[in-house]
């Protein structure tokens, strides 16, 4: 677990570079430490999973998709807050029923303030 006083680390997974960059700016503007990955496999291989405080991932990616990644992360770190983003709004109509630990969802394009608020909310238990 990360130290409470240290800067929270947010991992972002998306196969689109410009989206990754834009999320990096946004999260940096809120003073988070950001780790970028172009695929779910790259995140899993990097070994940073135990050190991150929040995960933001795209759903539709080649190879392991966002849903699969969340399922995998759940097994290792059940408490890790996750946020999923998607370019296909109709994806959200077929979601499993919402539970307490279920990830938050955002449809592209999303308002930056709302995403930051969601990250901040997710990190609340950590800060307390």
């Amino acid at each position: 677990m990360t130290d409470q006083l240290a800067t929270p680390v947010v991992a972002v997974v998306d196969d689109d570079h410009s989206i990754l960059r834009s999320l990096e700016y946004l999260l940096e503007s809120a003073d988070y430490e950001v780790r970028l990955f172009t695929s779910a496999q790259a995140l899993l291989d990097s070994g940073v999973l135990p050190q991150i405080d929040c995960l933001i991932s795209d759903i539709d990616m080649p190879g392991i998709d966002g849903f699969e990644l969340v399922r995998y992360v759940r097994a290792v770190r059940p408490e890790l807050p996750t946020i999923l983003i998607t370019g296909y709004p109709d994806r959200l109509e077929r979601l499993p029923p919402i539970s307490e630990t279920a990830p938050r969802f955002f449809t592209k394009p999303f308002p930056g303030q709302e995403l930051l608020a969601a990250v901040s909310d997710a990190l609340q238990p950590l800060r307390r």
Partner: protein
Amino acid sequence: MQKNTAAVPEESHFVLSSLAPGRAQKRLAAGVVLVLLVALYLITGPLSGVKLPAVNAFVAIYATAMFVTDSITAILLYAQFSILRSRAILVIASGYLFTALIVVPYVLSFPGVFAPNGVIGGLQTSAGLYVLWHCGFPIFVLAYALTKDEDPGKRVWQRDVSVATRWTVAATAVAAVAGASFCIVGERYLPPIMVNPMRFGPEWPYYVGAPVALLCTSAIVVLWLRRRSVLDLWLMVVMCLFLIEIPLSYYPMPSRFSTGWYAVRVVGFLSSSIVLIVLLYEITTLYGRLLGAVVGQRREREARLMTGDAVAASIAHELRQPLTAMVTTADAGLRFLDRSSPNMDKAKEAFKRIVGDGHRAGTLIGSIRAHFKSDVRERTAFSVNELVQETLDLTRDELQKNGILVQTQTDKDLPEVRGNRIQLQQVLLNLIMNAIDAMPMKDAAKVLSIKANLHEGGHVMISVADTGGGVNSKDAERLFNPLFTTKPDGMGMGLSICRAIVEAHEGQLWFAPNGARGAVFHFTLPADRADSVSPPDDASVDRSESRAG
């Protein structure tokens, strides 16, 4: 005659009376006549001694069958008249109606069927009706043969079709009734054809044989001189059967219920059903082919819609990405500026990125316009490799569902080609769908391989190979015909359209066997002249060709 063939309207290519008979049909027709000549020889020769009982019910059955088949033939021919509006068809339809109507008084007057001396008329009535019937029909055939090549401009007007049909039916009925009435009421004026209810008189050849033979021979001669269609061919056969009936009736025993007499009824029934059988066969075949064409067109359309949908979805996604990046980066930029001590460097960086993403979106919109440009003549330069990948993406579901392994072999140095991207994607999509259809579910190893490489003459060649059943040599000739298909559920239009599209791009589309199993379809497209290069060396081209073969 050549001129007339050319003037036949488009729709007539699907109607029996305008279709040209194939070699097989001509052979079959000759075969039918030959078999009957052999039967004629057997019955008048070796079998002439056979004695058969007089079965009166046979006459009733025979007449009923003749009435039914002739009526149906007449109805089908009247239906063809309503499509073709040719007077000749109207005439021959009336000929069949005439024979159907004449059969009724014939059976009623036949001695022994319903009453010992017939229900109507006297001794000569049924014989007179037979003459009327067997002279009447050849006259209709003659009239048909003489009117069939008339100027298509003189065809009956569309709105006059039902009036013309009604008048002709009425006139034919009047003629039949008048002829029959004369044979019944004026029986005593008829020549002495019958000696008694069973036996033909010595003058039978003059009163029955000669006129029937004369009319039938003239009809055959005129039909032969003007022969062109399937209907002409089979009417000639019918006339031959009428001719064969004459010696059969009189030799060796000029009486009713002889072997020859029975044979005449069988031949008569055959001649009455020949045109009906041919009509039904042709109608069914043509119906099947038209159905195939319609299904093919619908699938063509669906494939197009499928491409359209997939393209629209991918465009929406492609545009959403730069837009999202722009909005998110702009949000970040604003936050850097909003700080108590604004981070100008970060904000500047952010704005630069927004500009970059904006341009990316702009390029995308440009390519969308190119995609949806309705002008089919518009041609752009594009990468074959991308086209292959994109088309495979569109068919991925179908390929996975059928458990097909995909191998692609593309050359990244391949020059771009110039053409209508959407049309060429249709061609590739069609060839891939064909390949999928050619590989049935049960086959174990199913491989679809797509190759793109340089071809001679500055062309790029794209090959789609499957491991299905291949194309047999019989189908090979007709493969590119618009109405041809080997698939139970349609297509047909596909390959002919594909070939037309490729040829419009100055390319070629052909196929070859894919090694031991399956087929490979190749098509070539000219490389874009701007960066067109000749093949690097012949060896590399040959190598890829042999692999494709």
